[in-house]
């Protein structure tokens, strides 16, 4: 479906023969649609797609977040105001064959129960991290895009301003402190480009997850949607 779709959109080749070529190399001829005998699998296109769809080192970086986390969330409504501090829990897992990190957060915000979840991925073509986020404090799907290193990822989120309905920008910085500690910092980006740090989450890997999980597991075998 989407993959097939991309093939058509992208290469003007027949998706079926490409898929067939990839999935069943020994059956290429049989699988190629009779209706389009001129269409031959294109080895270069197949290889390009494989490269595009195969999780790589950036997905392993994301996979380091898999597991349960205790969160200490600090929020500033105003740079001068006293911050609000709350506890939360984050549960993360790799899904769809190690391609995306699902994060689910539960805690409170401004004294109210708060729940949210989202996905982070890495687009092998654009070489950018991509994210989506939904929560109980809004009806928007917030998209983000960014780049980084194994130790630090910076994402720019486009959010809906609840008052004007327009968009606001926020920067999220994800940093590893050590193997079991991470820090997510959020900055509102004002219209004039000034940044205001309004939230910080310190994530500590929950003890229940077992002994220090030092290195990134590859796509966990338990990923429920793995191929």
């Amino acid at each position: 479906m989407p993959r097939a779709h991309w093939f058509v959109a992208a290469a003007g080749l027949t998706a079926l023969s490409l898929l067939a070529g990839w999935a069943q190399p020994e059956a290429k001829k049989d699988a190629a649609p009779a209706a389009q005998p001129e269409a031959q699998p294109d080895a270069a296109a197949e290889a390009a797609w494989m490269e595009f769809m195969t999780p790589g080192k950036e997905h392993e970086i994301l996979a380091r977040f898999a597991g349960k986390w205790a969160c200490k969330t600090t929020m500033w409504m105003d740079p001068a105001a006293e911050p609000m501090v709350s506890d939360g829990k984050m549960e993360c897992e790799m899904v769809l064959g190690g391609r995306y990190l699902r994060q689910a957060y539960k805690g409170e915000m401004m004294g109210m129960p708060f729940e949210g979840f989202g996905y982070w991925g890495f687009n092998n073509k654009t070489k950018k991290y991509e994210g989506s986020w939904m929560d109980t404090f809004g009806t928007s799907i917030t998209n983000s895009i960014g780049s980084g290193t194994a130790e630090r990822i910076e994402m720019i989120m486009e959010m809906t301003d609840p008052i004007s309905g327009g968009t606001m920008k926020q920067k999220e910085v994800i940093e590893w402190v050590d193997a079991n500690t991470a820090k997510n910092t959020f900055f509102m980006i004002e219209a004039d480009g000034k940044e205001f740090k309004h939230m910080e989450i310190i994530l500590t890997r929950a003890a229940a997850a077992g002994p220090a999980a030092p290195k990134a597991p590859k796509a966990p075998a338990t990923a429920p949607h793995g191929s």
């Binding site: 805690g107 008052i163 004007s164």
Partner: protein, 246 residues
């Protein structure tokens, strides 16, 4: 504030004739009336432009933004449940479709704000797994969706508008995984009957002619146990359930 400005402007305009000169009184009145209309219009426009930040309590605005509404109910009612899917795929215009079957489960997420689709199918002997989400953004006043699957590393984001017949037309931009070019996608979700959804995806030939490349006909076989949009916070069977916390 708004009312005040209008009153001030009107009074100013009406007071002006008192300082009138020796012109034709009728002409004077006409000019003053024009001027008054102009002034009041300007004031009204100013007031309207300022109305949102000044007039609306941010908390009220946020509640409106956050509260699921009729569009969320529409998605929940028409989508949540267990479905079987018949998929037809066209590689080019005027060719025979390639058919396959799949199953899908749609469940509510975040207390009725979003609907999640878990799609399980097969394509050329491979398991195909997809996750889709859609919702309605009360602030931007449009439907929003994104899709991820196990055959790519891309997130496809779209925004949608609802047509008079209830169908939702989705548009998005993405980077072509093969060429690296920016492209736009167009698809439509139709609701022809209570237990039927038809999802259509369109594509363009190299000369720019649009054709239907995908059609998925969903048939609802059961309502999900989680159809009540207030109870989705604690489902137990779904591997994508948010952390249970607390």
């Amino acid at each position: 504030m708004k009312t005040c400005s209008i009153i001030v402007a009107t009074l100013a305009a009406l007071a002006a004739p008192a300082f009138g000169q020796t012109e034709n009184p009728a002409q004077q009145l006409q000019n003053k009336a024009k001027e008054a209309v102009h002034t009041v219009t300007q004031e009204v426009n100013k007031a309207v432009n300022n109305a949102q930040p000044e007039g609306e309590n941010p908390m009220d605005a946020w509640k409106k933004f956050n509260q699921p509404g009729k569009e969320h109910l529409f998605l929940t009612k028409n989508m949540v449940g267990e479905w079987t899917c018949n998929t037809k795929f066209w590689m080019a215009p005027n060719t025979d479709a390639v058919s396959s079957t799949a199953t899908a489960r749609f469940s509510p997420a975040m207390n009725g704000r979003f609907v999640m689709q878990e799609h399980n199918g097969e394509f050329m002997g491979n398991k195909f797994r997809g996750l889709g989400f859609c919702g309605y953004n009360n602030g931007a006043k449009c439907f929003e969706s994104f899709w991820i699957d196990n055959e790519s590393t891309l997130m496809l984001m779209s925004t949608g508008t609802q047509q008079a017949d209830g169908s939702i037309e989705w548009k998005g931009t993405y980077t072509d995984p093969m060429s690296g070019e920016k492209k736009t996608s167009r698809s439509v979700t139709r609701f022809p009957a209570d237990n039927t959804i038809v999802y259509e995806m369109y594509d363009n030939t190299s000369d720019g002619t649009e054709f239907k490349s995908l059609e998925v006909t969903y048939t609802r076989i059961a309502n999900s146990k989680t159809t009540n949009i207030q109870t989705d916070a604690t489902p137990v069977t779904d591997p994508h359930t948010p952390a249970t916390g607390k």
